[in-house]
Every structure is written in structure tokens, then in C-alpha cells.
């Protein structure tokens, strides 16, 4: 472990996704100093990896990047990226004390100017998870084009220490022997916005356990639809064919006790409908199917969005998909119980998108005293009137960390958490002033 320093702020925000950024901006706009601790090399969370967002079909970047930039440039906000929260506890003075481990980027953050020369010259190609692993990035690279900060990151597991990156770096920013750094953060309040993650494709044996190349996850489909996606268009990953028939399989893990996810993942109906609409724009002649149990289009403007999709000719099939198998020539065979017409039916598609189950992005166990519900998401004492309160006084939680929710609901909840945190700060500061 390298140097250890202690930093003090009014508020600590754990997680730099859309909820964390919104909470940070709301607190900073009220003149409180905020530090955002983000596990990833860039802030932006899941949202920055999306193509467009429902129900307005704004491009995700158009909404996320300005918030990322606003946070990065706010003089009341400090961003600490590539940092794992190791522990967070309240000390005897009631302050939140967090220990954070900053992983080595092997690049000096202050020197890197984001010119990408290292990336262009690095000879090692590695799968790029930010492109659904459909294309390569290099062993040293800027994570993605909109990343904040624009600082390169090296993967030591894929580095052969050839020295090329250091040679081409114009500012001498490459540090091959950089060490992890321990940072202690003291704050009066904290907002936990650690988001969600998606269960792996491999978990679903009936759906091919991830071995069928043309069965992909919804996040992978986001990349295929995104500007500057891996192919710059929608192609079948098995061989680059433009697909004629695309199917979405809903509740592929959620509402499924056998997968350990009995709850509804809440966002999948809407993103599937959105992706279907975007696909019908990108591939006007393709047939698009959505296999669903219930369509849960409950938010403002969502039902109308769903009805538009129906009117556009997207086919909604009320069915539970039982089995997915590889077919002829890269096709995918889907076997389902047709709940409207009865019996087991088989259909063949070029590309199948699974709405896998969503689970908490972070588990507080062993790291802090927050409690979770039976679903694993953070729970609190007042789920109705103050949904962002946690069992720890002065620590609040927002967004998918407190139960899955879409972007609109996450943003509202983040602002709500900021309000509760600001009020807590206000009372704490008064109390501290009284003591002093």
C-alpha cells in the first residue's frame, strides 16, 4: 500500500453512476463539499453505457455526459475514481469514516492528458467489456470515449512490459510500478448509490449458459445500438450477418425463484421495448418479437411508449420461454409455452436478447453496518416516508442500491437523498457550532 492520506468533506457519495452524480450535484449546489468515490475508472455508471433512454429516446450520452462534466468541474465536488470502498463506519463523534483503496492505473492521473498515444501503440488486444466484449481494447487505454476523467488505465494482467506506452507517452505519465493507495475519508454524512449489476449469462442453463454466440444480454444489445458501438450497426455476433429476426426474452432470471430472483427487475420491459423500437428503426425489415409474462410499462409516458411499439408492428408474445438452443447456420431456436394459443411452440431467430435478472451492485456486509432486505438491496427504517434513510444515522441511500429502479426514479430518489443528507448536515453543523 502506498501513501495514506485523510481527506475531509461535508458529504461522501459512494458510487458515481447517475444517482450518485445527481446526489453529489444537489449537495454541492447547496454549497456543501462532496467527494464521490467510484469503483470504475470513469464515472457515469450503467447509464453512460446505454444507447438511448426511454421514454423520450434521448441519447443516453446527451443526458449523462453533461451531468458527468458538471460534477467533474464543480468546485465543491471531488471525484475519486478507480476506488473501492473497503469500510465505512461512524466514529465516536458521529462522523462517517470511510477507508478507500485506489487501485493503481499505472498511469499518473495528473500527468495523463488523455491523448491515447499509449492505447494506439500498445500491441496487446484484449476484449473490451465496455463494448460487450464484441471488440478489443488495448492493455492500456482510455476506458471509453466519454470517460471522465480522460485518464488511461493499464491492465497489468495483459501487459508484457514492452515499454512501448512509456516511450510514446508525451508527458511521461506511465508508472509501471504504481502502488494502490489508501485514502481515509471523513465526512459528516454519506449517500450510498452503488447501483445494480446483471446476473451472468452463464447462470441460465436452459438458455445456453452463454455458449450460444447469438444469445446476448440486453447490455450487449445497448452497445450494438449505441453510437460508436463495436460494429457501428446491429450485426449477429456469430458471423456479422445483419439479423432479420430478433427476439427479446423477458424475465430471463427475474420473477424466477429457481434463479434466486423472485422479484421483478422493474426496468427490463421498458428497455426491451425501447431496444425493439430502435431496432425497427435500424433494421426496418426485421421481425421483432418480445416474449413476456406481463408488460410493466408503469411510469410517466411508458404505457404510451408501449402502445406506440405495438403500433409499429413489434410483436408481443405472451409466453414463458422454456428453452433456448443453437439452430442451423447461427440461428437460435426458442421453445416456449404459448399462453395465448396453447401448447409448446418453437421459433427460430437470428439474434436473441435476454433480460437477465438484476442484483445489487454492492453488498455492505463486512464493510459497513447497513442492512439489506431479503432481496439483498439496502433496507431502511422508513420505506414509505423517507425511502433513502438507512439504519445508520446520517447515511442515506438512493437509486438501484435501495431496490431496482429506472433512471427517472433513480434521479428523483438521488435528489431526495441529497435533501435528507443536507438536512442532516444542517443539524450536525449547528450542533458542532454549539459545541464550539
Amino acid at each position: 500500500m502506498g501513501t495514506c492520506q485523510t481527506l475531509s468533506y461535508d458529504a461522501l457519495v459512494v458510487g458515481g453512476g447517475i444517482a450518485g452524480l445527481q446526489a453529489a450535484l444537489d449537495l454541492a449546489d447547496q454549497d456543501y463539499s462532496v467527494v464521490v468515490v467510484e469503483r470504475d475508472a470513469s464515472i457515469g455508471g450503467t447509464m453512460i453505457r446505454l444507447s438511448k433512454v426511454f421514454p423520450t429516446l434521448d441519447c443516453a450520452s446527451c443526458i449523462t455526459t453533461p451531468k458527468m462534466a458538471a460534477a467533474a468541474h464543480h468546485d465543491k465536488i471531488t471525484l475519486l475514481t478507480y476506488c473501492e470502498l473497503e469500510t465505512m463506519e461512524r466514529d465516536d463523534r458521529g462522523r462517517v469514516r470511510a477507508v478507500v483503496r485506489q487501485k493503481p492505473r499505472y498511469v499518473d492521473e495528473d500527468k495523463c492528458i488523455g491523448c491515447r498515444q499509449c492505447e494506439y501503440h500498445c500491441p496487446v488486444y484484449v476484449p473490451d467489456p465496455d463494448q460487450g466484449n464484441f471488440a478489443a481494447r488495448k492493455a492500456i487505454c482510455i476506458p471509453f470515449s466519454n470517460a471522465v476523467p480522460q485518464v488511461a488505465v493499464m491492465d497489468p494482467e495483459s501487459c508484457m512490459l514492452c515499454g512501448t506506452c512509456a516511450k510514446v507517452c508525451p508527458t511521461g505519465a506511465v508508472v509501471y510500478d504504481q502502488q494502490p493507495r489508501k485514502i481515509v475519508i471523513e465526512a459528516l454524512t454519506a449517500v450510498v448509490a452503488t447501483g445494480f449489476s446483471v446476473t451472468p449469462l452463464e447462470d441460465k442453463a436452459q438458455y445456453g449458459s452463454g455458449t450460444i454466440p447469438n444469445v446476448i444480454t440486453a447490455l450487449q444489445m445497448e452497445r450494438l445500438l449505441a453510437p460508436h458501438g463495436p460494429y457501428n450497426r446491429v450485426l449477429r455476433p456469430s458471423d456479422g450477418m445483419e439479423p432479420d429476426s430478433i427476439a427479446f426474452v423477458q424475465c430471463a432470471g427475474s420473477r424466477d425463484k429457481s434463479m434466486g430472483i423472485p422479484y421483478c427487475s422493474r426496468i427490463c420491459c421498458m428497455y426491451a421495448i425501447k431496444q425493439a423500437m430502435l431496432l425497427s428503426g435500424a433494421l426496418p425489415v426485421a421481425d421483432i418479437f418480445i416474449y413476456y409474462m406481463d408488460i410493466r410499462a408503469f411510469g410517466k409516458g411508458y404505457e404510451q411508449f408501449f402502445q406506440n411499439a405495438r403500433a409499429m408492428g413489434i410483436q408481443f408474445v405472451k409466453a414463458k420461454v422454456a428453452l433456448i438452443e443453437p439452430g442451423e447456420d447461427g440461428a437460435v431456436t426458442v421453445r416456449y409455452e404459448d399462453q395465448l394459443n396453447g401448447g409448446t411452440t418453437t421459433a427460430s431467430h437470428d439474434l436473441v436478447v435476454l433480460s437477465l435478472g438484476k442484483v445489487p451492485g454492492w453488498n455492505p456486509e463486512g464493510r459497513c453496518a447497513l442492512t439489506v432486505g431479503p432481496d439483498g438491496f439496502i433496507s431502511g427504517p422508513e420505506p414509505k416516508l423517507a425511502p433513502t434513510r438507512t439504519v445508520e444515522e446520517g447515511i442515506f441511500a438512493a437509486g438501484a442500491a435501495v431496490g431496482l429502479k429506472d433512471i427517472v426514479d433513480s434521479i428523483a430518489e438521488a435528489s431526495a437523498a441529497a435533501m435528507h443528507a443536507a438536512n442532516y448536515l444542517q443539524s450536525r453543523k449547528k450542533a458542532l457550532e454549539a459545541v464550539a
Partner: protein
Amino acid sequence: MGNEQETKKGVDKEVMKALRAARQETIRRVSAQVKEQKKIIASITGELKKGPRTVPEIADAVGLLPREVLWWIASLKKYGVVLEGEKQGAYFAYRLAE
């Protein structure tokens, strides 16, 4: 947020020596991988020198799985080596950048 160690251009030779010793295993593995990657890139670009080709055509010619070829095409396109060309049936043809 300065890191303590000296970082000057043309990295400290002693540091590199020590690191290379410590990461021998990784270096061996990655070096082999890079050698293989270079071979694949050469075979794909070699095929494209003959003219625009679709993914299945390249796969046939170089003896790789079509999905591996697509992965390489996408990657080489990202780094400006390959460009997308005309559509031929259900597939796009790819060609070398200038």
C-alpha cells in the same frame, strides 16, 4: 494527488528489471498471445489486400471461426486499420484503410 515515485520519461531501468522478474509468468503468457494476435491480424489484413471481403469469406480463407473474424474486424475497425464497405447480401464487406 501526486504519486510519490519519480516518473520520468524512459522508465527507470532497475524498476523495469525488477518488475519483469516478478511478472515473468504474465509476460510469457501475454507475449505468446501477442505473437498469435499478430499472426491473425496479418492473415486477415493479407486477405483484405486482395479486395473487400465479408466475415464468412475471410473466415473460410484464413481458417478461423466467423465470430473470431468479426471480433478482429470490429477491433481493427476501431483502430482505423479496416473500413466497412458495401453490403453483399446479408453481410457487409470490409476493406483495408488507406
